[in-house]
Amino acid sequence: MAFEIGNPGLATTVQDQGRTGHYNVGIPQSGSMDQYSAELGNALVGNTAREAVLECTYLGPVLTTDSDAVIAVTGAPVDVKVNGESRPQWTRLLLKAGDQLSFGVIQGGTRYYIAVQGGIDVPEVLGSRSTYSLGAIGGFKGRKLEAGDVIPVGAPLNDGKLPPADSVPEEFRPVFAKEQQVRIVLGLYDHRLTDEGLGNLLNEEWKVTPVADRMGLRYSGPGVKWKEREQPFGAGSDPSNIVDAGYAVGSIQIPGGTQPIILHRDAVSGGGYAMVGTVISADMDLVARAAPGTATTFQAVSLEDALEARRDLAEHRNKAWSELGASR
């Protein structure tokens, strides 16, 4: 079976849990920006967490299914329409052959996910179906969807067995707020900031700018100050420059001391800007949900706190799966 794409939307791509192991040659992990939302979509339609979904950015696609299909739309709040009639989000929906799925205006956040029973069935590249557009690999022909594309859907898993619950309870749906507190572990090159610069980073409010995509999000705010120094050989002339190094996913760089950039799942793997800290893994989905204008504060936490938050998130996620009666 397959989905035929009428209108592709703004930037609709095939994503899954991503590919690791190739960051050393500049191939980023990719994968759904909001992993939590994407995988609960999979849970609703009887998939494991591994199946590929469609990630929709702000403006979703118009698509028609050529067979009966079991789907769910999760993630950022949006009007879901089947043949023009509203349907609930975070809930399993049954489509008939020929049904048309479309979307209204997004009401918060950035991305929502279409999960389908059997998963989006594009070939795996380096162990993942995720699209990496810049390298033109993975996903559907290595690119975002276009009108007229016919996107293959896989066969149902577990003989088509669906979980007993058909809707994610409210307490397991993420909040898509206009304010965020993002936890970071300071480190990498934070010692190169002045005390005032570090103070600005942690105590002032920063706003997500429109320059935000799968590669990273840029924030505006009061700026920071870098300590002056004689630059090491090969590092470049600005005090925010370092000898080109690997970039941690989630790391925060502040080129020229003006606008912090958080690198996300399609991160460039390295470069010559000093990083001052890294978003903890448990808050990466939160950052992915930040729309332009989101007021953000950065809270420094210890590595131990970050590890604990990671365990808490895993526990919360596993509880959501078991609440649905689904197996991850």
Partner: protein, 302 residues
């Protein structure tokens, strides 16, 4: 150039990139010795096959390691790499089994010239001139021809692969006072032709894909270095050609030679000229140009 005994013994700095990354800064400044230490640490870590190590990313003077903290405790990873660092300090000879590759380049080509023309005022230090002329000037060289000569006559070490898929950063194997240094564009371009041979700071690079970039542009490499379709023989095993530690010898080609290579690529017959070599750090540091001659001999008769 600094002797290995002073450059290599400096203790690395260990710091966390959140709960999934360990960053090991071997040195703040770029040097062959620092890069060699990074590659040695990376290969020891890779050989150890430790469960929970997800990505091992050697860079110019630092190593980035991604790990799964549910499988491997951060402190255990740090202790392991620290012990490797200690072992390295006790080793007499530092060698790297690698290869030397000849990369044909059309210097001063029309593709980069066309793009450069679109990004002058507000982007470039000398909007009225070309990137190569500017590079020659800031390196106190006579003209573009001398710069091109200096660029290809001595080989380069791939000190890092990344930024985007398959892009090699390269460090020329010459003494520090002979390194070509050129500032990046004042503001990054939104376009760079695929396979542009670029330069920023002391690093050369080849842009693997078309896109944004801030390095000065001197030419285009004639053959692919990133091939997701894996059509050519050199990409049969993997879509990315370069590995950290590769040694690159640029070879200037004419327009006619460039076109002949394009025909070979279309026919699927193109192969890079390459030969295995063992790179010895102490020899490279003691007599860079003499040792380079020896390395380049490996390409003869292939």
């Amino acid at each position: 150039m600094t002797s290995p005994s002073t450059a290599a013994v400096q203790q690395a700095r260990y710091t966390w990139g959140g709960d999934e990354f360990l960053f090991v800064e071997v040195a703040e400044a770029m040097s062959l010795a620092a890069n060699f230490k990074v590659m040695s640490l990376a290969s020891k870590l890779s050989d150890a096959g430790i469960a929970g190590v997800v990505d091992i990313c050697p860079a110019n003077a630092s190593l980035l390691v991604r790990f799964d903290p549910a499988v491997l405790a951060p402190s255990a990873l740090e202790e392991t790499i620290r012990s490797f660092e200690q072992d390295l300090g006790n080793e007499e000879e530092q060698t790297l089994d690698t290869r030397i590759v000849e990369v044909p380049v059309w210097y001063d080509d029309p593709f980069t010239a066309e793009v450069a023309e679109r990004f002058r005022e507000g982007f470039h230090q000398e909007p009225g001139g070309t990137d190569i002329d500017y590079a020659a000037k800031v390196n106190n060289l006579k003209d573009a021809a001398e710069f091109i000569q200096r660029h290809h006559e001595q080989p380069w070490l791939v000190s890092m692969v990344g930024f985007v898929a398959g892009l090699p950063f390269m460090f020329q194997l010459v003494e520090q006072d002979k390194q070509l240094e050129v500032p990046k564009y004042l503001s990054p371009r939104t376009d760079t032709p695929k396979l542009t041979v670029g330069h920023g700071g002391c690093f050369g690079c080849i842009y693997s894909v078309r896109g944004a970039g801030g390095y000065q542009m001197f030419g285009v490499a004639a053959a692919p270095i990133f091939d997701p379709a894996q059509a050519l023989e050199d990409f049969k095993d993997f879509m990315v050609f370069f590995r950290p530690g590769d040694i690159v010898k640029f070879k200037p080609v004419t327009e006619a030679e460039y076109n002949a290579i394009q025909a070979e690529i279309s026919a699927g017959t193109f192969r890079y000229r390459q030969a295995p070599v063992t790179f010895e750090l102490s020899k490279a540091l003691a007599d860079p140009e003499g040792y380079n001659r020896q390395l380049m001999e490996a390409l003869n008769g292939i």
